[in-house]
Amino acid sequence: MIAVSDKILVSESILTEYFTCDLQACRGICCVEGDSGAPLTQEECTYLETEWPRYIPTMQNAGVHAVEKQGPWTLDIEGDTVTPLIEGKECAYAFFRDRNCLCAIERAHNQGVSSFRKPISCWIYPIRVQKLADGLIGLNYHKWYLCSTARELGAQKKIRVFEYLKEPLIHCFGRDVYQAIRQAADNPG
């Protein structure tokens, strides 16, 4: 891990490995596969409580039923706040267009009806944010077999993980942290 500020540690693979989502190949499978829903912060849970009705016209009927039954957010087996799932499969806020799995939350944001863009954990994936001791935050690279095409496309385009996630990294941690990550990546050792 490399310290990029007094609070943030970054795993080396975020600086060196390549990544660019390839929706044409993966079809948004990360919204379908997995053991539980997308991790949510407390603030995001509050957003979902007030905003979710605005997503209904885009959501699947089964997704609407899942939210009505489980609530706009739920707890997984580890007690973490996550988005509800449709019968243990895709996220309740997922919908399908032309065989691609897309996000109703993001769609509503793009249409200007919701101020909430999407859960940070989805936006910043494949980075996973981990709270460490003494208020430290660890940024880890989650290397999932389902994202092999993203690694290939990233390598082809020479886009590293942190470069692909420039916008959410700046949104979450600020421009200074992003610059520090870039500097660490460009000046190894």
């Binding site: 009705p53 605005r54 209904i56 016209p57 959501m59 609407v64 249409q111 200007g112 009806v113």
Partner: protein, 158 residues
């Protein structure tokens, strides 16, 4: 005369009933909350009526097009070719007219979704009703398509 007229009316009625039964229609049961909001009630009802009208038009035009679906266009007489082109045009026009309505309906829906003065319960019920209408329209698109492609040499759009 009266008896004959009555008989004719019954026959007409049955014929239209048979036709109506073949047309897919969407029927929405509006919640109490939605019924209580005149604007949303009217909006949803209008969207449902537009979708049902489209369904009727789709079925009618599709029936008219059946006999032309498998024909060799170039071997037909000019008169028959003109019939097909005219039918193709009607089909494109039907979807165009609906899409114009659908776009303005979508813009209005987004305005309602942004409106924070609408109570949550009404917003949820309206959204659910519109989701049903949208899914019904999508089924019509999947079943009847937006283009019959009867005319193999369509004129480029002006």
């Amino acid at each position: 005369m009266k008896k004959i007229l009555l008989f004719a009316l019954i026959l007409t009625g049955l014929a239209s009933c048979k036709q109506a039964a073949d047309v897919p229609q969407i029927d929405l049961t509006l919640s109490k909350a939605l019924k209580g909001n005149a604007t949303l009630n009217e909006f949803v009802t209008q969207a449902k009526d537009n979708a049902n009208t489209l369904a009727r038009e789709c079925v009618n035009l599709h029936e008219m097009a059946q006999e032309y679906l498998e024909v060799d266009f170039d071997s037909l007489s000019t008169e028959e070719q003109e019939k097909i082109v005219s039918l193709d045009y009607k089909y494109v026009e039907m979807w165009y007219n609906f899409n114009v309505k659908y776009t303005s309906q979508t813009i209005q829906l987004l305005e309602f979704l942004k409106d924070e003065s609408i109570p949550k319960e009404e917003l949820i019920d309206m959204s659910k009703a519109m989701a049903q209408v949208n899914s019904f329209v999508q089924e019509l698109k999947d079943t009847y398509g937006q283009d019959l492609k009867l005319d193999p040499h369509p004129a480029p759009a002006q």
